[in-house]
């Protein structure tokens, strides 16, 4: 059979690649999508099981997935196997690279927290003089957020805040419990806004490319989806310098195969797309490829508190339960003393405090837990990490994956800006919780290693200047005009908002631009 030349070869079927296929295929553009993983069968591959019947009870298999702190006894099989997909880092500077290699990618498992960025991020340099602005502003992306949110059925409450623009929401008018109201009053007094969590509700709480994007793309008849296809390099026509396809390896047989396309779209996830480009020796005339790696730092259970009025069996739904979100409140109109940018807070109530933080054991601990049951209140801090040239990935020529593809090496660490922000978060929260009438049982400002948030961003950033950026404002390579990168690697800054709504909106915008360019014969 002669090799088919597709209009577009898309690498990756997660949120970013899935959105590209959704836009392009429905416009009549012939797409081939390659994904390194198999397609899960949600009926066959999942089953209800009792924790005591799992091989290691409530523990995950010892020794596996040392960098995936999210892995547990039930979900250990969904994460990319670290022995087949190794990576390295500098000495003790651990990076927790959490990957999913399945059709649908991480969107099968994300927590669905859905936010927009604002001009505090897009025009961050204008605001505080650090780093670079994006080559686009909020008004460029707003129409795409408007289209993405209804597809993902994002629920939330409109607030009219500049730092967290409202979206096209399923309006969440559910009442707040007394506990949440108390926190809100104390937070507002400290200048901290509080709203409902904004979350994609999808279909049956699955808000994935797997059920919301790929089915429509396939139904158009214009998408061919190949699973178990591990992309190794983007290939280039020597005469034109343009991309002409992708070389990939069949995951099981390890046969190397070529796919041809008039354009190539990478949506293999932030760092996998960058790895693919580094391994292809492409799109790096700026020298910026791989650099400006950042994510968001997470401090889970920054405070672990209890609401005294709910202790001793008094917890009920009216009194306590539910959670919410505080968007960035630092460095908007005033200046914090020892850091720039800001952090967001995700809080929840109605649980039981972590027994680890209660300095007791035996019957005494059990009776304390009984007393506290349902009265818990805890907060996770999610802080902006500055995009810095010194934080980067490169190719480790001595380490390869199970398919012989050279692996990534990470050089990344947090800086004083992040540490000072973390210290501010814990002291602020401690005070707010006290003012809300809660008793703080434990607090800390220790962030997880970089990568933990699963919001890795940058390394292939956008910009107007080809000397300092990899992509232009359309997610298009400055160097190779028919090559687009539509995942989080294109981010210039990330704020403290979870990134997926922005990834989806950027991918939609870039794909519409690509479709138009193909139609006009510009590529």
């Amino acid at each position: 059979m002669a090799e088919t030349k597709y209009d577009v070869v898309i690498v990756g079927s997660g949120a970013s690649g899935g959105m590209a296929a959704y836009v392009l295929a429905r416009k009549g553009i012939k797409c081939l999508m390659l994904d390194a993983g198999p397609a899960p069968d949600l009926t066959r591959d999942r089953t209800l099981k009792a924790v005591y019947d799992l091989p290691y009870r409530g523990f995950r298999k010892p020794g596996i997935l040392p960098h995936v702190l999210q892995a547990n006894a039930f979900n250990s099989n969904v994460w990319a196997d670290e022995t087949q997909n190794p990576y390295t880092y500098d000495g003790d500077d651990q990076f927790n690279w959490v990957r999913v290699r399945l059709v649908g990618g991480k969107s099968l498992f994300w927590a669905r927290m859905s936010f927009r960025l604002s001009d505090y991020e897009f025009k961050a340099r204008d605001h505080d003089g650090y780093g670079e602005n994006w080559p686009i502003s909020y008004s460029d992306l707003a129409p795409y957020y408007d289209k993405v949110e209804p597809i993902f059925r994002v629920a939330g409450r409109k607030e009219g805040w500049k730092q967290l623009p409202d979206g096209v929401f399923l309006e969440d008018n559910s009442p707040d419990s007394v506990c949440v109201q108390q926190f809100k009053t104390a937070a507002n007094q400290a200048g901290i806004p509080v709203t409902k969590m904004r979350r994609a509700t999808g279909q049956g709480m699955l808000a994935s490319s797997f059920n919301l994007l790929l089915p429509d793309a396939l139904a158009s008849g214009n998408l061919t989806l190949v699973s178990n296809a591990v992309a190794r390099e983007v290939t280039v026509d020597k005469n034109t310098g343009l991309a002409n396809g992708v070389n990939f390896i069949d995951r099981h047989s390890r046969r190397e195969i070529h796919a041809s396309g008039r354009a190539v779209v990478l949506g293999a996830s932030c760092l996998e797309s960058t790895r693919l480009l580094l391994n292809s020796g492409l799109a790096n005339s700026s020298g910026a490829l791989g650099h400006y790696l950042f994510d968001q730092f997470y401090i889970t259970r920054t405070v672990d508190a209890i609401m005294p009025a709910a202790c001793g069996g008094k917890a009920n739904r009216h009194l306590i339960g539910g959670g919410g979100y505080c968007p960035r409140f630092r460095n908007l109109d005033t200046k914090a003393k020892n850091f720039i940018r800001g952090y967001a807070l995700d809080f929840g109530s109605g649980g039981t405090p972590d027994p680890a933080v209660i300095p007791e054991y035996g019957a005494a601990l059990e009776s304390k837990l009984d007393y506290y049951r349902g009265a818990g209140f805890s907060v996770t801090t999610m802080g902006e990490v500055l995009p810095r040239f010194e934080n980067f990935v490169t190719i480790d020529r001595n380490t390869s994956d199970a398919w012989g593809i050279p692996a990534l090496h990470f050089s990344a660490r947090y800086s004083d800006n992040e540490f000072n922000m973390a210290a501010d978060a814990v002291s602020t929260l401690n005070e707010v919780c006290h003012n809300a009438g809660f008793e703080v049982l434990a607090k800390h400002d220790k962030m997880f290693p970089p990568g933990y948030s699963i919001h890795e961003l940058g390394t292939c950033r956008m910009g107007d200047d080809p000397k300092t950026s990899v992509l232009n404002k359309w997610n298009q390579s400055h160097d190779v005009k028919n090559l687009f990168v539509v995942d989080g690697s294109s981010f210039v800054t990330g704020g403290s908002q979870n990134p997926t709504m922005t990834i989806l909106s950027l991918s939609m915008r870039a794909s519409e631009y690509l479709a138009e360019s193909l139609r006009k014969g510009d590529l």
């Binding site: 099981k49 924790v51 019947d53 409530g58 010892p62 680890a356 300095p359 434990a442």
Partner: protein, 200 residues
């Protein structure tokens, strides 16, 4: 692995031959049963069949100390099965035995320390101490919580053991069986992902 694969292929290759052989014989072949007709056989797990784990990792004094520690840290309270009822010592003997070396070392060293300190202070092994004596040795568990693990090896071991004993107890069949019914899902039931198209 290649051998297993070859064997599988041989078996698989042999399958289509069976109807052909039957066809050569004069009697008409009985219709092949459809998958739906074949009865699923009821099997169960070793624990459900009330079989017990054979400990093999810890030494006898270590295991005796672990048993005592389990009983002290998570006893049966208000009729809820405690760590000993949930056979946690035997389970941890298995789990730690298949864990990476640093974890094995943490447990072995921690249990040895419990015995060594008990012998030094009270001239008895940990298992034989009375409650006021164990209370002194387990003092670090009443120290205020800090995010960073304690630098003292015994305190560090006790902190890890406290968490592990709780997880193993709470995810035991005994705890699930003792839970009041009436929730949407029986206690301890979750959505388990099987391996998806693993490499062969």
């Amino acid at each position: 692995m290649p051998l297993q694969r070859r064997k599988f292929l041989q078996v698989a290759a042999a399958v289509p031959a069976a109807p052909a052989l039957l066809a050569q014989q004069s009697a008409p072949a009985p219709p092949a049963p459809s998958a739906a007709d074949v009865q699923t056989l009821a099997t169960t797990t070793p624990d459900a069949a009330a079989c017990t784990t054979v400990p093999g990792f810890f030494t006898d004094p270590q295991l005796a100390a672990l048993r005592r520690l389990c009983d002290l840290l998570l006893p049966s309270v208000n009729g809820l099965p405690g760590a000993l009822d949930a056979k946690v010592p035997e389970f941890l003997d298995f789990l730690i035995g298949v864990s990476p070396a640093p974890r094995q070392q943490l447990y072995r060293q921690g249990l040895d320390l419990l015995n060594a300190i008990s012998s030094e202070r009270f001239a008895k092994l940990f298992v034989a101490l009375d409650p006021s004596q164990t209370d002194q040795i387990l003092g670090p568990l009443r120290a205020p919580w800090t995010y960073d693990p304690p630098s003292d090896p015994l305190a560090n071991f006790l902190r890890e053991a406290k968490a592990d004993i709780r997880t193993a107890t709470e995810s035991s069949r005994e705890r699930a069986d003792s839970a009041p019914s009436g929730g949407r899902r029986p206690r301890g039931i979750g959505l388990y992902w099987l391996p998806i198209d693993p490499l062969v």
